[in-house]
Symmetry: D2
Subunit: 268 residues, 4 copies
């Protein structure tokens, strides 16, 4: 079975192509998002991430800008040529998110929200399915089946850490999930070292490790001013750190015989 | 702040009242459900549980009868006088479930499905909120805040085990959650020894333990023929085991100065 | 196979007898130990606990008084008639500890210290084997086999919590271990709600729960002045709390048809 | 503070030097050990591992050959020039193990066996300290302090996986421990992908990942005929797989600007 997924822009996910998706946790303002979009494009990202609707543990925390964020993401796509990945949090937003997103993300908290999985399965867009905090890999693959069963073959998995007992990291980043998934499934799997570690200083080494373990790409949080981010600041890279991440991971991507996917503009 | 929740039938949850909710994992047929409703009523349950819409790890497993199950539950309520608790799995069913259910259950997988929590918050019905598989108690309480923030003060928490490393039990039943919740919140908390252990033979001792730890009630799976149950058979009690559970827990309920809530008919 | 263990004083562990072992984490001074020994005897404990050699995560923490503590424990036994349980931490102390202790404790950190288990197996004294922080119940039982294989049949198991992800408690107190052990083994099993929870306010409800789950006894930390304890202060009961624990657990012990073991003096 | 440890053979551990230690779980026969020693030397290992005294969950499992194994290891060292790492399991073997071993290993089960740590601290030999199954990184570092406090500065840490909930792997290999340790300590840290995964097919990708995360070396199980190994067969590499591991990790070691340490003979 084929192991690749191809976005409308021609970007291939899986196979020998290594894709980096980057951007802020949440879209906070038009200016910040456009700035970070330019920065991640310049550094080599091929997909722009940014949350419009944010799942938050507390109902009193910042929950994203909603529809205006989707419009800002569309503007950034226009400006940079980068396809956009954003989270589908609620099935009532499904049409809206499917309209704006190039890749529809299902977050860790919703990995077993089966009704949402079915909506994503009917999106006609690739779906990025993140592993739940206490999900086994088998459970992750069975959640993917919910999407596949709707006729959508374009599922991209993502390891982002599971709940562990050591508070030295936010989550326990289970990179072994990568060879396990590759042994059991044809689906590509990305790694998210931002959530996987929760600490900016660990993101680069663990991004390198994810590449070496065989991940098909990375999902990385980058913010123009992480100290002031409205969410996930502690794990967001400064733009110059993201450049370093791209340099250091590129070396390993090439050392293991893969290639870093280039932005559509660069491919043209 | 008051610690009690009162159902329409006059049943009080919290305070010195100890409530037992029992029934099958899922409504499978009208006959089986009506039989088990009679049995749990006779043994002393005051709320009938039964799933109409079931969250299942695999898309190919039995997912409940849906609307016909809600109608069967309503018939059982009519017949027995027992109020009904059933799970709200998907916000598109919210009106329907709110119409049929006396208590709306939010399952463990959906503890952080915030859009669903908000729907439950607008139900005008008490909500039974189960702890997620890897949720901290603080996260459980913050999920309850999503419901409370919609103006619904009638939230009942439920400990049902968290993910652990020992396969001797299905989950790791964290009874310490009960005193922790009682120290931090005014909300009542039930315990579900069926999911908490996953094995029929451990349900009774752990039900007794939950009472002794201070739980405000129990949620127990009972099936007329567990060997043939379409889901959760291994952890479902035979009706005669449920009678024994009621006898053994009643002794402890009374030993610690509480009383087992009586069915509405018995109260009249 | 017989399920009871009988100490030299005639105290029976297992069967219908419910035993409470109590005392400080560590022997700190002669005065404090003798005072707490009198207090726990008065409240109904039948075995005195107290550490002479303490395993500590940091080499710079208080590690116990060593041999003088063993002598103080012997004096307390003389004074109160209570047999003594104390930890064997190092095989070089084996003869010494075997000489002074009535029950030899193997701590959680040493559950898989097989050479120490063999020394305990040759003690000719009952052994209290605590479950390791990440040990499955099967591993606990296999560690007991190391002691049994040396010809010592007097092994008492102890559930004391495993490592969990929720910092609301020090450990995740796995009371399901009690019915699991009773289903797999003839060995008695105690519960330690002090380490199981790590917080004084949770010790009493979880002690009650342990009784109700079927534990054959309790191991409880009591200190005359917990605020000043050199170790485990936060989880040590005040003597008056321990009296309350005895009253509240006695009610449940009797409700389930067992009896609280009486001190040797009382038995005479 | 210096970050390097130098063995008697001149082999440097830490700094830019990347060391690979390999060999069987246990020494089983002279012939097999000498064969595997030749094979790992040929492939590029610089330290030979092999257990003489094995900690086993069950007292009825193969527990190692004991002293004869130490003699076989010494013969293999003589033949290949490879220094030897072997486990100190019991303080009564301390003199013996210190005499034969070039590096003294403290296993995961003994990470908090403080008396053993002190014996290792007085060995006058480098100590390889493996992380316990449920140890936090802070606890690992505090266990290292027990060795350092005896005046032995030559401590090498080792990540080997912690207990997790997913049975797809034997342990949950926590590679984030590597940047965490590098941020908190001057001690070098190796990774053990054999225990970290428990499955031969995952060892190579996770070995690559460990290199990329910044590990200072690897500890790898290799057996001439893993299907017949008396312990850890499922996670032991065939010699030809180990050659591939060396080729694939070397590419990454060099890509990140380090160098694979060469055997003493090669250095001469």
């Amino acid at each position: 079975m084929q192991k690749n997924i191809t976005l409308g822009t021609g970007l291939q996910i899986g196979g020998d192509s290594f894709v980096v998706m980057a951007g802020p946790c949440a879209v906070e303002t038009r200016e910040r998002l456009l700035a970070v979009a330019d920065a991640v494009l310049a550094a080599g990202a091929v997909v722009l991430r940014g949350g419009a609707f944010k799942p938050r543990t507390s109902p009193f925390a910042f929950k994203g800008l909603g529809v205006p964020a989707l419009e800002i993401l569309a503007e950034a796509r226009e400006q940079t040529g980068l396809p956009v990945v954003t989270e589908l949090l609620d099935s009532t937003h499904a049409e809206l998110v499917h309209e704006y997103a190039d890749v529809v993300q299902i977050g860790a908290r919703n990995m077993q929200n089966y009704s949402l999985l079915k909506h994503a399965g009917r999106a006609g867009k690739p779906v990025l399915l993140k592993r739940g905090l206490s999900a086994t890999i088998q459970e992750l693959l069975l959640s993917a089946e919910y999407i596949l069963a709707e006729g959508n073959r374009q599922v991209i998995l993502c390891e982002r850490g599971v709940r562990g007992f050591d508070t030295a990291t936010r989550n326990l980043f289970d990179l072994s999930a990568i060879p396990v998934v590759h042994g059991l499934s044809h689906l590509p799997i990305l790694a998210d070292p931002s959530h996987g570690t929760g600490h900016r200083d660990m993101v680069i080494p663990m991004a390198r490790a994810a590449v070496a373990a065989g991940a098909d790409g990375l999902l990385v949080e980058v913010h123009p001013n992480p100290e002031r981010a409205l969410s996930d600041g502690a794990q967001s890279l400064y733009p110059e750190q993201f450049e370093r991440l791209m340099r250091e991971t590129r070396i390993i991507v090439e050392a293991i015989g893969r290639r870093v996917a280039e932005p559509a503009g660069a491919r043209a």
